[in-house]
Symmetry: C2
Subunit: 383 residues, 2 copies
DNA sequence: TTGAAAGCGCTAACAT
DNA sequence: ATGTTAGCGCTTTCAA
């Protein structure tokens, strides 16, 4: 490639020195202008900007990164699924990253890939990102128990783990959005408050830390209320898996309330219950998790726990960027967003209330469950 | 920064010359090894790899990009929504990009942003991407008509437009996944085949080219069959908007069949019909679009047109990478994936069939609608 | 407030 | 099959 041949192969892309020449200043001054550095007279700045505009100058990020040692980009590791939760979080991350002025590089992990997260992080590190976001980590080790699948990263940049308490080990690790346990408690207590003797749990795949969190939150709540802890049914987040689980659950007349770890599974579950002749919520109450856009419009409209994806992403990124830009400093404090519950028509008191629940009417539990929460959508059970 | 200070600020990151020294070869040889260039003896290659491993060498992408003029990365412009369609396409793109060995940079456009796609493309160009993918373009010009919102990009790299015929102008533009019109035809003809006199359309927002396509496909089909073309109801892709539209549609007894431009709107629509006392499919048949994971499990299970996101992404990327790597060559030919239809329980013949439809039983139309397609899921309408 | 010089770590072209 | 020599276009000192 002869000097002056640009990307396209025809016209040479203008460089900062070309701009400098045209503006009658030094190349360094052009650099100053484009980096908003101080000590540039407004007159010079104007001339430089004008010259740049005329030439169609566009600063070369690779050169910038090479010279400065920083790429001004953040890498994110997500699952390659279209699942509502992970995707919403990813979109929140994109927005948050863009707001900070960094660029975004994305690598998906394939579920079941042994290299998994570590491999994805590695490819991001190769790209020279300044920070890394791991969204919704999964334990690929095959172990079921907590802590077995520690993910050790040899990352020399700060890492933010989103959506679950961190199983990740690296020099600098931050966490945000680990409030699923509390949310699961809210869901479970809602059903208990309605008078159900106990609550069944349709869990997410236990390789997901987020799924473990919800399960633990549910179990802890039952235990705290001295209730029997029924066996867990595990799905894979899909409505299809919820449907399968529902077929089994429908045969057990003892099941009067189910907390599903996400809305999709709740929808499949409800479908299976209806097919088996069990009415929702008259015979069985169902609570979901996520508050997907369709949750309000399925039949019956789903009571569910909304997830604050955007708030989590924004807060996490603020802290990540802080860690990137102030390597020595103490990490910014984390704050958990409030937990809500949207009560719709898929939950009701049990048919044959157990002892002590006679007092319990259709109470509205804590959270954003007032008129505004549930009333925005009709909660009649159709036909 | 004194020489030798790496990203972290403590230990110097090893460079290829360090590896060379340790392996007892020239720096260029290290470069050869890492680029899989020919003319490296296996013995030398082994030594280099060993030295690199020992030092924890990681090649510097910025330097590579600067020296070679190529970043080996592809930028994608998407909407910042969690909508099933755009997201599935994005995931397909990520997979396809990764398979080609390129890195992925993502920029979202905010709906309603005047800078819109052009602005997003610009920021990608700043980052020095080798190619650009525009997924699901939107016309931000405010015009409703076709062609009004031409998006002129001053991109010096190839651009791939995904999901709709290209409204984008740039030196090199490729298109993939523009088969929505044909899919809309399939959906519409399914309803006509069942004996419905005409088919209403619940359209997507007409600023989306994909939504316009589906509408045109529907309209063309009705016209081709000499049927009345009812007024279009426009939603915003959400179940909530489908619900609103459904309330209006439910009042018109002439409505016996509706083709919704996506599944979410179809779900909201069905909910509204049920609330209004109109049964689905007995009184009104509904066809969706997408085949989201929940479509099979809502009540009634939704008849819908699946979208081949992965195939579209893969094919589009193959052609984009070809255009990147063979600037002069003729573009690879495009091939449209087959159109399918999944028949479930939300469609049926009309109650009071019009003339000529007496012959028309519950026929199964073209596409993957055989036993395998519909039978994987129970299609009974529950309680 | 501005400029000159010296790299950043790699690939490209040309030896050998 | 391997080494040498020049840059790539910026940021970073340091000087003026």
């Amino acid at each position: 490639m002869t000097r002056g041949t640009g990307r396209g192969g025809h016209a040479a892309a203008p460089r900062s020195v070309d701009v400098a020449r045209l503006a009658g200043v030094s190349q360094k001054t052009v650099s100053r202008v484009f980096n908003d550095e101080p000590y540039v007279s407004t007159e010079v700045r104007r001339r430089v900007l004008e010259a740049a505009e005329e030439l169609g100058y566009r600063r070369n990020d690779a050169a910038r990164a090479l010279a400065s040692g920083r790429s001004r980009s953040i890498g994110v590791v997500t699952l390659g699924t279209a699942l509502y939760g992970p995707v919403s979080l990813l979109m929140g991350v994109e927005r948050a990253v863009r707001d900070t002025g960094y660029a975004l590089r994305v690598v998906n992990t394939v579920e079941g890939d042994p290299a998994g997260i570590a491999g994805a992080v590695d490819s991001l590190l190769d790209q020279g990102v300044d920070g890394i976001v791991v969204s919704e980590p999964i334990d690929e080790s095959g172990g079921e128990g907590r802590g077995e699948g520690e993910i050790a990263l040899r990352a020399d940049v700060p890492v933010l783990v989103l959506g679950a308490p961190s199983p990740v080990t690296a020099p600098t690790v931050l966490t945000a959005g680990g409030g699923a346990g509390l949310m699961a408690r809210t869901a479970t207590e809602h059903l208990l408050d309605l008078g159900h003797m106990t609550v069944h749990h349709l869990a997410g795949p236990q390789r997901w830390y987020a799924a473990r969190d919800r399960l633990e939150g549910w179990r802890a709540t039952l235990t705290a209320h001295d209730r029997e802890v029924p066996p867990v049914v595990e799905g894979d987040w899909s409505a299809a898996s919820g449907h399968r689980a529902g077929r089994a659950l429908a045969e057990d007349p003892g099941v009067t309330a189910v907390f599903a770890a996400n809305d999709d599974m709740a929808i499949g579950l409800i479908r299976a219950l209806l097919e088996a002749g069990r009415r929702v919520p008259e015979d069985v109450s169902v609570v979901g998790f996520d508050d997907t856009p369709v949750a309000a419009f399925v039949t019956p409209p789903l009571t569910t726990v909304p997830q604050p994806f955007d708030a989590v992403a924004r807060e996490g990124l603020k802290r990540l960027v802080h860690a990137i830009e102030h390597p020595g400093a103490a990490p910014l404090p984390s704050s958990d967003p409030p937990v809500g519950l949207v009560v719709r028509a898929s939950t009701a008191p049990p048919r044959a209330p157990g002892p002590g629940s006679a007092l319990t009417g259709r109470r509205r539990p804590r959270g954003r469950s007032g008129p505004a929460g549930g009333a925005s959508v009709p909660s009649t059970t159709a036909s």
